[in-house]
Symmetry: C2
Subunit: 162 residues, 2 copies
DNA sequence: CCATTTATATCAATAATACTGACATATATT
DNA sequence: AATATATGTCAGTATTATTGATATAAATGG
C-alpha cells in the first residue's frame, strides 16, 4: 500500500489574515463614496442597498427583500417608507396575490441608483480590466466559496428584463 | 499603419452587478457569526474590528487605528474605553514619544479574537482550498484593485512578531 | 524658551441602523 | 371557519457613528 501524500494543511495563517483584511478594506472603500453622496440626500447606506436590490429585481416583494438584506421587517419598513415618501420607489399590488406589494424604482429612483453605484462600477471595471479574465474567474470562485449557500436561489440569476 | 484592435469596452453590465453583489453577500455572511458571538459579550462589530487590528499590529497607536478603521476619534474612544475597562486590551506609553499609547491584547483579548475570527478563517480556508491557488491569486489581484490605494503603507506587511 | 503642533482624551448633542416584542389588517389557503 | 401568510405599525432600546468644543501632555521648530 502506498503512502498518502502529505496532508493539505490548508492556507497559512498569514494568508488567512490577509484575506480577512482584503475583505475589510475592500468593503470599507467600496461604500465610502456612495455613503458620502447619500448624505447629501439625507439618506443612508440602508437606502442604497434597498434601492439597489429593487432596481436589480423589479417587482420584488417585501419578504424577498428581507431575505436578501437579512434585517428585520421593522428596520426595512423605516427605510422603505422614506423611499416611497420621497418618490424613489413605487409599490403596486400583485394581481395573483393581493397581499403582496411589488416594488419598483421610479425614474428618480433609477437616477439615484445609477449615481450611487457608478463609483462602485468604476472600481470593479478597473480592477477587472487590470487583473484580466483569469483573475476574475478566481475572484468569483473565492467569493462564492465565502458566501453562505442558501436554498432559495434568487441570487446571480440574470436580472429580469423590465 | 495597422488598425488597432477593437476597444476593450470593459466588463459587461451583468458582470459588474454580479461583482457588487458578491461583495455585499460575502461581507454580510462574513460578519454574521462573529456578530452573534459578540452579542453574548455585550460587544459589537466595532469591538471586533478594533481587537482584530490591535492583535494584528501589536503596539499600534490610536492614530494608526483611526487611519485603518476610518472612523472618528470619538467613536473609537468609546469602543477602546470598553475594551480597556473589560481587560481585553492594555495600553503602554511609548518610550520614544510619551504622548503615544501603544495598544496590545491581553490574554483575554487574544482569546476573544481567536474565537471571533475562527469562523472567518474557516470560511476563507474552505474557499481557498476548494478553489485552488490560481483562484486565490486572482482573488487577491481583484481585491487589491478594488481597494483605494493610500500612501502610508501599513497594510499587508507581515505581522510584527510579538 | 516660547509658540505651535501632535497625540490623546472627554463632554454633549444628534443621527442612522438595527433590534425585540406586541399587535393589527387583509388576503389566501385548508 | 380556522389558520397561515404578507405586510404594516407602535413602542422601547442598543450600537455605531457623527459634529463640535474643549482639555492636557508632550514633542518640535524657530
Amino acid at each position: 500500500m502506498s503512502r498518502n501524500p502529505p496532508e493539505n494543511t490548508g492556507p497559512a495563517e498569514t494568508e488567512l489574515r490577509q484575506a480577512i483584511e482584503l475583505l475589510f478594506y475592500a468593503y470599507r472603500d467600496f461604500i465610502a463614496e456612495p455613503d458620502a453622496m447619500l448624505a447629501h440626500h439625507n439618506l443612508g447606506r440602508a437606502h442604497h442597498r434597498t434601492i439597489y436590490f429593487i432596481g436589480r429585481y423589479p417587482h420584488i416583494t417585501v419578504n424577498e427583500l428581507l431575505d436578501i438584506l437579512k434585517i428585520t421587517k421593522q428596520s426595512l419598513n423605516r427605510v422603505l417608507g422614506q423611499l416611497l415618501n420621497e418618490g424613489y420607489v413605487i409599490q403596486t399590488t400583485s394581481a395573483q396575490d393581493r397581499r403582496r406589494r411589488l416594488m419598483e424604482l421610479t425614474e428618480k429612483g433609477r437616477g439615484l441608483e445609477r449615481q450611487l453605484t457608478e463609483n462602485q462600477r468604476i472600481r470593479i471595471a478597473r480592477a477587472y480590466k487590470d487583473a484580466g479574465p483569469d483573475a476574475v474567474a478566481g475572484f468569483r470562485k473565492i467569493m462564492l466559496g465565502v458566501i453562505t449557500d442558501d436554498k432559495d436561489r434568487h441570487r446571480f440569476d440574470p436580472p429580469k428584463t423590465v
